[in-house]
Symmetry: none
Subunit: 456 residues, 2 copies
Amino acid sequence: MSQATDAFVLQNQERFLDELKEFIRIPSVSTLPENAGDAARAAQFVAGSLKAAGMENIEIIATARHPLVYADWLHAPGKPTVLCYGHYDVQPPDPVEEWKTPPFEPTERDGNLYARGSSDDKGQLYMHIKAIETLRSVHGTLPLNLKFIVEGEEEVGGASISKYVAENPDKLKADVALVSDTALYADGMPTLCIGLRGLVYTEVEASGPSRDLHSGLYGGTAPNAIFGLIELLAKAKDASGRILIPGMCDEVAPPAPAEKASWDSLPFNPREFLEKEVGSSELTGEADCTVFERIWARPTMEVHGIAGGFTGAGAKTVIPAKATAKVSFRLVPNQTPEKVIAAWKEFVARNTPAGIRTEVRVLSAAPAVLVDPDHPAIGVAARAFAEVLGRPTVFIRSGGSIPIVGEFAKHLGIPTILLGLGLPDDGLHSPNEKFKVGNFYLGIRTVARFFAQYGA
Amino acid sequence: MSQATDAFVLQNQERFLDELKEFIRIPSVSTLPENAGDAARAAQFVAGSLKAAGMENIEIIATARHPLVYADWLHAPGKPTVLCYGHYDVQPPDPVEEWKTPPFEPTERDGNLYARGSSDDKGQLYMHIKAIETLRSVHGTLPLNLKFIVEGEEEVGGASISKYVAENPDKLKADVALVSDTALYADGMPTLCIGLRGLVYTEVEASGPSRDLHSGLYGGTAPNAIFGLIELLAKAKDASGRILIPGMCDEVAPPAPAEKASWDSLPFNPREFLEKEVGSSELTGEADCTVFERIWARPTMEVHGIAGGFTGAGAKTVIPAKATAKVSFRLVPNQTPEKVIAAWKEFVARNTPAGIRTEVRVLSAAPAVLVDPDHPAIGVAARAFAEVLGRPTVFIRSGGSIPIVGEFAKHLGIPTILLGLGLPDDGLHSPNEKFKVGNFYLGIRTVARFFAQYGA
């Protein structure tokens, strides 16, 4: 059976790629108001592709911003239901001048397809659609029940889908979700991501004197809002990056020994990671943790931005009245956003220096997600992936956050399979984003095989 | 004789004020390249006013940045020569939205003239010019020899005048310099400032990763340029404001017991100072020093501005590659700029966190200045001032820096009389800067009387 589907993919791969190129040519940049019409066109394209693949009950759902696309095929009674998710929106192509070929004219070079959205996420979403077309074409039917929910706001916070999932749990009910928006650990290595860190993003504002003061006339007696903020933030973590905020990390659950052992066996070149990816003079962080522990399983605190006082060219001698910092925390199992926020607010209140007032504003909050690797669907996906790529599947985590995974867990009570065929150097959000063409075909075969085996 | 000059001031005060407003309307912000043309216009205005007042040999002297204005009147052989100094440049008006009336449209309210530069220093410089016009108009001549040197870079470090004074000591030779760029200790209280703090102004740049990184994918292992800068700066002074930089404060000379005793007898209401001037919840600083010691006789460190990473609305999860802070030190007798700079650079180098690179750029450097209160010209000025305001003159220091006073001492070997008619709440460098209109007229009368008595 899988031979027949593999053969169909091989016979149709040029057409599949041509169709993907057509999808990519739509510049569906979600953050730019001038591209709103393109987002609508991309939603139409997704709806048409789903219909052509044999999906039913296609809906283009208007939202406050860019439309959602829903579809289902529910003719396999007694079989499991998979909820497929993807996003048709893309990041802006800036800086455009750094692209070797136009961002919205997909170009093949060295086995890669270069274009904005090729990997994130049009190419990967399209693997799902073509896997369904393949199965329907070869077998005349599908091996399990399928639902699709595709959004156009992933790159701008996903507000509309978040609302929709919360309001339509019965409609979206499934046994498992499938998301292809991640990367292989390394090319050729089948990879399932089973953990994501959460994120609490805040803004802290410090106020000192009621107005900017002359530092000569008042320096020595007046509180400085910037220095107050500096004093406060400096106390929140130590030189190794360990968070010192009381109560924030009490619940942190370390990875299970087996998971940690499997990370230790992943190929990893620290020098290459330092020089090619981070690009600083040395790696930093908690010395008693491996790099994978630090980025996948340890809570972090980062200051993303800071502003206050006079920052133009030259000199201005003010004691600044105000300063603001964007401060976020990455959460790991079993931290809760509520406790992290409470601990942070308490810490800020207790450590605000004399003469300074502070305010903490929470901009977003999502917990970490861990998927049980022993869940039956994960096991099937790992096996299918290993068969197609010819190597055992590895289980990794990501230090980033994919909020929709948390929404599916919270509102639908289902785990998510993060099965992505991107590569670490695809350049998501950067100029010259690419998707390896061979991985596009391997992804279609893997998804088709997963559907077949999970429905068997 | 002084009755006649006082009468002339009274008869012409509205015209004097209208002319001053015209001067103030020129937005001669020295730090902003886009205002360079305005600086040139302000220099022209000063030259024209000096000519109209009867000064001779007017020169507009081109410099690397903003022009200097020179003028003299040297027809009183055997009489002393006074070198008058002022600056026509002003601080940026930011934050503009906090001004009640436009910063460059001088507006009279409650006996004050509100505008950027009204007190610092256009209004006070203009007192000198109008004093000369008054004496010339009343007597047809001047009672002593006068030179003027006016600059347009006072708010940005004064590099051009510094070079000019060093290179032209014979041209600028005088017995004493007169600078009106300070404030009365309290309204109605004639005040001569005999001490100024110095200033070393620097910019510190911290670099971490070679580009902004995704805080999910790299958070925990990658150095954060903002946090690195925060860690570094937080170590430089303690919660009381005491500088912890080794070697920076070794030479600090405390005020003489008699001077300290005279400060203790000045009227001072700490609550009013806190609420009306500083406007914070409490005064801060070294608890074992009085407020006057802290602002006049103690070294300080301030962070004037800080910038790095993402500071727009909303959230962006970057580990920032760069962050910059403007950091200055106020110097007191007997600290030297050279030692302060060396100690700061050494401290930054030693305390730069792992994975971060730092660079210190020095933008300006000037030592503290003390003037001998027993100098004859100081005695004459104190008497003239006391006569016009009807109260004994007090001697104070200022926590600010007027680098030119140090240059005059160093290159011309002369003391400077700091005779200013500003008020402590004038809001220099802040929104809604003001100058009391009545003090503008009293200043013209005081300067005219000082010239007359010093030349007598």
